[in-house]
Amino acid sequence: MKKYLEVFLSILTAMGGFVEIGELVFTVNAGAKFGYSLLWVVLLGTVGIIVYGEMAGRIAAVNQDPVFYLIRERNGYALGLGTLIAANIVCLLTCAAEIGGLALVLKLLVGGPYRLLVLGALLFLLLAVWFLSFQAIERVFGLLGLLMLVFVFSAIYLHPDWTQVGRSLLPNLPHVESPRDYLVYAYFCVALMSSIMLPYETYFYSSGAIEEKWTEPDLWINRTTSYLGMGFGSIVSMGVLVTSAVVLGPLQIRVDSYEQAALMFVPAFGRWAVTLFACALGVGCFGAAIEITLNAGYVLSQSFGWPWGIDKARRDATRFCTAFTVVLLLSVLIAVVGFDPLQMTLISVALTVVIMPLVVLPFLVLMNDHQYVKQHKAGPLANGFLAALTIVGALMALVVIPLEIFGG
């Protein structure tokens, strides 16, 4: 019974962690600009992250070591170092964006100067990572993750054209006013894919598998958590897109503030719109910030061979604790200096998709090494799918993102 409860909470945590600031920003704008058209990208990205996440959990359970631990061993130092640096740069920027987002959420809820709220967010985060165990973090964010269902409720309440929604789950091109809009559409495809397939989620998931002490007999838990957790998360994401398409689409506005985005809840929730939106976004940002912070500690410690683990006494893993604290403080510094969280989100998402091959391909090598996964090797279908997705995504990003930036 206890095991099933743990699995249930793990699913909720995976679901709650799916929607964070980057994903929300792009999904809201995707819906506002292109209606339901980009739903297929959300679906494709979800399949990608499920495949990727399940593999990462599998390596951890079978090998009793998490993914990042093994990347340097299997692929050599140079590639391991490249992956580490890339992962940490993205972590830093994404964490800064989440903390900035959290501060803006607090501003929506209670008001106050932005910088003071950033420091307030820092305090909450430090308390959480220093004094909570892994299970406590999972339980808290698992239950808070239920709040994300407001997006699904809102989408259903609005009675969208379900036939059109269904059709949009297959690759399609929207009706556009000018050819330039196709470029914008391509940019959104790349950005949405990137914001869903965040590498830190799989490293965190794989480290979490070790913290939870999964072994080979627990592979069913890994499959259940990744399929259902991320699957439900994707439904939340689709709820965001559909709601935005129905409410904000006809208004023809470009959403560049959270106050504007919160408007999409007005039809379903009336005067509670801003509060509910802020709470849901806050939960997403807070959970993501904790995950990213801990992940930075995990990947640095696993690369350099330091003792690690949030369930260890802090005095037994001092370099791990120092590493994640330093990353958190640096992220807060970036947020406090005043970079716009939305801009940071755009940069971190763009960087993520470009470095994706550097992160995913060494991982695929690992997934095919009998020494590390025994008989649980990845099949050619999964390999080919992930490899193609990341390479095509990176190539598209290299073309589309500069064009988008220079084209304004």
């Binding site: 391909l361 090598v365 095919n368 050619p380 390999n383 490899a387």
Partner: protein
């Protein structure tokens, strides 16, 4: 008289033949326990060119063996200049991996 070199700096270096042709890269060395010591018995030499290495990468991602080119005995490799390892025999004398 003995010199000490860093293995991690030798690995990945291109090894050249006696007539200065690129043969491949030192990818691995095999060692054997003799008494209290571990001694290097063989060097594994892998692909040198970029396209060959990309091919190796693709094979590894798809789950095939990376493959390698040659195996040289310890006395067939000169490491006195670790930045420029050299073969001290002909290529024909090497074992194929």
């Amino acid at each position: 008289m003995s010199d000490t070199i860093r293995l991690d700096r030798v690995i990945g270096r291109t090894i050249r033949t006696a007539n200065n042709r690129k043969l491949g890269r030192l990818e691995e060395c095999r060692a054997e326990r003799r008494g209290d010591s571990w001694v290097i018995t063989e060097w594994v030499i892998g692909a040198a060119g970029l396209f060959e290495r990309l091919g190796v990468g693709v094979r590894m991602i798809l789950g095939f063996d990376a493959g390698s080119s040659f195996v040289a005995r310890w006395d067939q490799v000169d490491l006195r200049n670790p930045d420029r390892p050299r073969l001290v025999c002909s290529v024909e004398e090497l074992k194929r991996a």
